[in-house]
């Protein structure tokens, strides 16, 4: 095991990611702007017209917006791998005596930490303007966000491992990130939408992240909690396994 999972190497990669994260504060600011717009512009505007299950619209979408931020930050983080490849920093890591599994775990953990830090900022803002949460609710939210982020970072990293240039970045955002967000229950209750949308939402693992978060924060969910948790854990395991395999195939030579 120690040859496959090297703690020192994982720590090295996480250290690097944290330094970059702290140094590039613009990244944090730019990535929480759109969730805030959704929450306060769309959320507030529709507040008077819509109430769902006794909650204001803004409160109803709050867990969805938290999940949205995890989704966007985690995918974008995974895609930074392409940038690492382009500026050759990755080469230094690829020739070090470390396994690709360690590289994957380190990278994924770096992304998860970033996503969680941003989430904490959003929850703090939400605590004042949208919804008060108890300490236990916050801890559970962090745990679920942790797993969800790990799953989505895996998707991002697997794309990052395969893609060669940043040109595909916009394509990924249009064809994966936005659809994953809209075909989910983040902004509405999937039961009350069209059959097609509901069907697509149900095969989208992100839907279950939102549902679990909503259960924790609002005590309301569309699916059974145990069902959502099983799907989330299963998807996370499958996706991280696939990504590890893809990492083994990253070539040092361009």
């Amino acid at each position: 095991m120690s040859k496959i999972i090297q703690i020192n190497a994982i720590k090295a990669i996480i250290t690097r990611e944290i330094i970059v994260f702290v140094r590039e504060k613009e990244r944090i600011v730019s990535s929480i702007i759109s969730p805030l717009l959704f929450l306060f512009v769309i959320g507030r505007s529709l507040n008077q017209k819509i109430t769902i299950e006794g909650y204001t619209y803004q409160q109803f979408i709050f867990p969805g917006i938290i999940a949205m931020n995890i989704l966007f930050t985690s995918i974008r983080y995974g895609l930074y791998l392409i940038w690492d490849k382009r500026v050759d920093f990755l080469k230094e890591v690829l020739v070090a005596p470390i396994s690709r599994t360690s590289l994957f775990i380190g990278k994924a953990a770096g992304g998860v930490i970033g996503a969680i830090l941003e989430m904490i900022i959003l929850i703090s803002i939400g605590n004042f303007f949208v919804l008060k949460l108890s300490i236990i609710q916050i801890i559970l939210t962090i745990i679920v966000s942790f797993v969800s982020s790990f799953m989505i970072v895996s998707i991002g990293l697997s794309i990052g491992a395969v893609m060669k240039t940043m040109e595909g970045f916009g394509l990924i955002m249009s064809f994966i990130t936005w659809p994953m967000f809209f075909f989910s229950n983040a902004l509405f209750e999937v039961k009350s939408t069209s059959y097609i949308i509901m069907l697509i939402s149900r095969i989208n693992p992100f839907t279950y992240s939102v549902d679990i978060l909503r259960k924790i924060m609002l005590d309301y969910s569309t699916f059974k909690l145990s069902y959502s948790i099983s799907i989330l854990i299963f998807s996370t395991l499958v996706l991280s396994y696939i990504t590890t395999k893809l990492f083994e195939r990253i070539d040092i030579q361009k």
Partner: protein
């Protein structure tokens, strides 16, 4: 003792034969240069020796470890400086080294001391907390050399260490490479297509062209092979008579000039002058460039792909 030994390495990329039957032995503590034009197979050979690339056939041992069976042990024994910079330019010089020390599982209090020491060795200690993005090309290269040496590898690979640097920075890098060899007793393997670099730095030079090693010797012996001195003549020349002289090693054409190589040109200058009527004439010490031209029949720039 041989720190590196290769056994009939061959490498094919589809139809292209990149390396054929490479057999080299490199002694511990020497500076070994692979000299050849772009596309000769230098980087391919380095990639194989560093376990980044698998050979099509044959094998090699680096620091006693088989490159195919024990790649992780090989990687622990070596440091690599790539042709293109691979520093993290969002990090400071010290942070780059710190991350490296963790990747190579160095004990942290030792790593701290070693980082300071190695930054001083390459003359970057006063810039240790600057972000690498602000460094010049020469400084980045020095930092990469420092990083390659941080974990005290037995062998340091430098792929074209001075490519794209100005002459002053190039000389600085050479000084540091010599210093490192002396103080750290690291075996250094470098690829270059600068004759001057190979001549200045190396204990052994291997001339490589089209995937084959054509000559391998000390720079001195390589030069002695074609004589110590050469005359470059533009003008009429009595080839047959000149070639008859015992002290002449060889005569060959380079564009519109003739090149005469000999061990004792100055001594026999009068003899030679009887058979040439030069428009211009130049006598100089042999350089590796002349050796290369003699062996391959072309200048290194003409062979660049």
């Amino acid at each position: 003792m041989n720190i590196i030994e290769t056994f009939n390495i061959n490498k094919k990329f589809k139809d292209l034969k990149a390396l054929s039957n490479i057999n080299i032995k490199i002694k511990e503590g020497e500076i070994f240069s692979l000299l050849g034009p772009n596309g000769a197979g230098k980087t391919t050979l380095i990639s194989i020796l560093t376990s980044i690339l698998k050979p099509s056939s044959g094998s090699a041992r680096v620091n006693g470890f088989d490159i195919i069976k024990n790649p992780l042990d090989v990687r622990k024994s070596i440091g690599i400086v790539f042709q293109e910079p691979s520093l993290d330019d969002l990090l400071t010089a010290r942070e780059n080294l710190y991350v490296h020390s963790m990747l190579y599982n160095m004990e942290s209090s030792y790593a701290k001391k070693r980082i300071e020491f190695i930054l001083k060795t390459v003359g970057l200690f006063d810039r240790k907390d600057s972000i690498v993005r602000t460094f010049s090309g020469g400084m980045k290269r020095r930092l990469e050399i420092a990083r390659g040496l941080l974990h005290t590898p037995k062998v340091l690979f430098l792929d074209e260490p001075t490519l794209g640097l100005d002459p002053a920075s190039r000389r600085t890098i050479w000084d540091y490479v010599r210093k490192v060899k002396r103080e750290e007793n690291t075996t250094i393997i470098l690829t270059t297509h600068y004759m001057e670099e190979a001549d200045n730095l190396s204990d052994t030079v291997a001339i490589i062209n089209k995937g084959k090693i054509i000559e391998m010797n000390t720079p001195e012996n390589l030069k002695n092979k074609i004589g110590n001195e050469i005359i470059k003549v533009k003008g009429e020349i009595d080839l047959d008579s000149i070639k008859k002289f015992k002290f002449i090693d060889s005569v060959y054409k380079d564009n519109d000039s003739y090149i005469i190589t000999s061990k004792e040109i100055t001594k026999n200058l009068n003899e030679i002058l009887r058979f040439i009527s030069p428009e211009s004439l130049e006598i100089k010490k042999t350089s590796l460039e002349d050796v290369f031209l003699k062996i391959t029949g072309k200048k290194i720039e003409e062979l660049d792909e």
